[in-house]
């Protein structure tokens, strides 16, 4: 975990310095971590929400199903879960920036082919 924070710190500095053209936010996960998160989303979130995010035991996580929900609310659900339901908290392995990155990914629509 501390290692990751350090990497982001560095990435953040680079982004601030304009060394990462097009980086949408200073805190975006690096390429390797993005791939790891995407894999987690498809396969591990996908075990409840479906590989295509069309829902399973968990609700659909399609762009239209999330449209009326704020980034903050969704990020918080991912980090802290929904007590009393099977939605678990992921804060032990995903930080806030990463959760927000996942929300952005979901809003754009994820599919296996991407």
């Amino acid at each position: 975990m501390p290692r990751r924070t350090k990497v982001y710190g560095l990435l953040g500095l680079l982004a601030l310095a304009g060394a990462l053209p097009g980086a949408p936010s200073s805190a975006d996960p690096d390429a390797e971590r993005r791939q790891g998160l995407r894999h987690l989303l498809l396969h591990d979130c996908g075990s409840c929400h479906g590989l295509t995010m069309r829902g399973g035991l968990g609700r659909p996580l399609l762009p239209e199903s999330l449209a009326d929900k704020s980034d903050e609310a969704l990020t918080s659900i991912i980090l802290h879960g929904m007590p009393g339901t099977p939605m678990p908290p992921w804060a032990a392995e995903i930080d806030e920036d990463e959760a927000l990155w996942l929300v952005t990914l979901l809003r754009g629509g994820v599919s296996l082919g991407d």
């Binding site: 396969h43 591990d44 479906g50 035991l57 908290p89």
Partner: protein, 396 residues
């Protein structure tokens, strides 16, 4: 002259045999050592055989197979593969072809085959309920909408299993009810409902003798049991309060009860939010023991040979498999087969166990006496491994 004629006759018969497709003795084979491996991300299945432990080929075009399962026709030749996208696929294990595919609902979770092998039932999340299909043609023959409560709210259905007497038994996730449906006449379905079983049942199982149905509860510390020999006695709670009031740990993957472990008069059930297997005496249905394990158990599967129960685990501890000795109720071996062990399937007599390693893109076969890997087969993000021997078992 006569010899010539005879020789000609032999020759003619041989030629006729050779020209008849699929009729040569070498080409013919049984299916009892066949099975399939679900490739969850590519909508395909591998057809495998457990004698030489090889893959015979791949069948594609089965749709979204995340959370896919399958049942087999009673002759062991056809596999009915249920996809997450509501797809019902009929695959011929011998010709290795997708014989038929229908999309029967928006989102489904699994299915079952009736006692007589003529009806396929599919449990749906969206729009909920159970749909019935003719096993030969896949034509729709009936429907059981899972509406509950005064508002007739639709419910997701989980834990669908075949039950003796041409019945299906299943559980309403949102409604907290167990339903027992007699499908002898699909046009006149008889459904008995057992409400109030507890909050958020997530899966169910039927015992190998077809007598007892158990639903696991996510929202409560315990499981719900229905005795199918005396359904009028209603649902009772077993292992009530197994969490002893402690807060459950997060569950990163739902445990599966199907393909469960019954051995030596005991059933081995995954606890929810605890790194434990709960051991129940299947006569009294009282807790007999607990086995502390490496993580949140997902599958606990008894070897058909009885002595061992193999357990795999939820993310992030899914690189590990543990083996519990039923005689001592202790973990006797911990294996690290590789990343993301999704499923385990024994051969019918238990000399091998097949493990799918999703993130390693392979299926490994272990010898169950030496616990040594004896084969490895490449597969794309494999999940379920389902052998055709399931065709002859209640609850599979």
């Amino acid at each position: 002259m006569a010899t010539d004629l005879r020789r000609y006759a032999v020759f003619a018969v041989a030629a006729w045999l050779a020209a008849t497709p699929g009729a040569s003795a070498e080409d013919m084979r049984g299916t009892a050592d066949l099975g399939l491996v679900v490739e969850r991300a590519s909508g395909s299945v591998l057809i495998v055989e457990t004698t030489a432990r090889t893959s015979l080929g791949r069948v594609t075009g089965l749709g979204d197979l995340s959370h896919a399962s399958a049942v087999f026709s009673r002759d062991g030749r056809m596999a009915y593969v249920f996809g997450r996208d509501g797809g019902l696929n009929k695959v011929d294990l011998l010709s290795r072809a997708l014989v038929k595919r229908i999309t029967q609902a928006g989102n489904s979770i699994g299915g079952a085959i009736s006692q007589d092998g003529r009806i396929i039932a599919v449990a749906n999340y969206e729009p909920g309920g159970v749909r019935l299909f003719d096993a030969a043609s896949l034509a729709a023959v009936g429907e059981i909408p899972a509406l509950f409560g005064p508002e007739q709210t639709p419910s997701k259905v989980v834990g669908l299993a075949d039950a003796p007497g041409q019945k299906f038994v299943f559980t309403l996730y949102d409604g907290g009810e167990i339903w027992l449906a007699d499908v002898s006449d699909p046009a006149r379905l008889k459904v008995d409902k057992y409400p109030g079983i507890g909050r958020l049942p997530y899966d169910g199982l039927i015992t190998p003798d077809g007598r007892t149905y158990v639903a696991g509860l996510f929202g409560e510390d315990g499981l719900a049991k229905l005795d199918l020999w005396r359904p009028e006695a209603g649902v009772s709670r077993i292992l009530d309060g197994y969490g002893r009031g402690e807060d459950p740990m997060p569950v990163y993957k739902m445990p599966h009860l199907r393909g469960w472990a019954v051995s030596g008069g005991h059933a081995f059930l995954p606890a929810i939010g605890r790194h434990e297997l709960l051991v129940v005496d299947t006569r009294s249905w009282r807790e007999a023991a607990r086995v502390t394990v490496h993580g949140q158990p997902v599958f606990a599967i008894a070897s058909p040979a009885g002595r061992h129960v193999w357990v795999n685990f939820a993310h992030p501890r899914n690189d590990t498999v543990q083996i519990v000795d039923v005689a001592t109720m202790a973990v006797t071996l911990t294996l690290r087969p590789g990343k993301a062990v999704m499923h385990m399937e024994f051969t019918p007599r238990g000399e091998q166990v097949w493990l799918s390693l999703r993130d390693e893109n392979r299926v490994d076969v272990y010898d169950t006496r030496s616990f040594v890997r004896i084969a490895s087969i490449p597969a794309r993000a494999p999940s379920g491994i389902l052998l055709a021997a399931r065709a002859n078992r209640i609850g599979f």
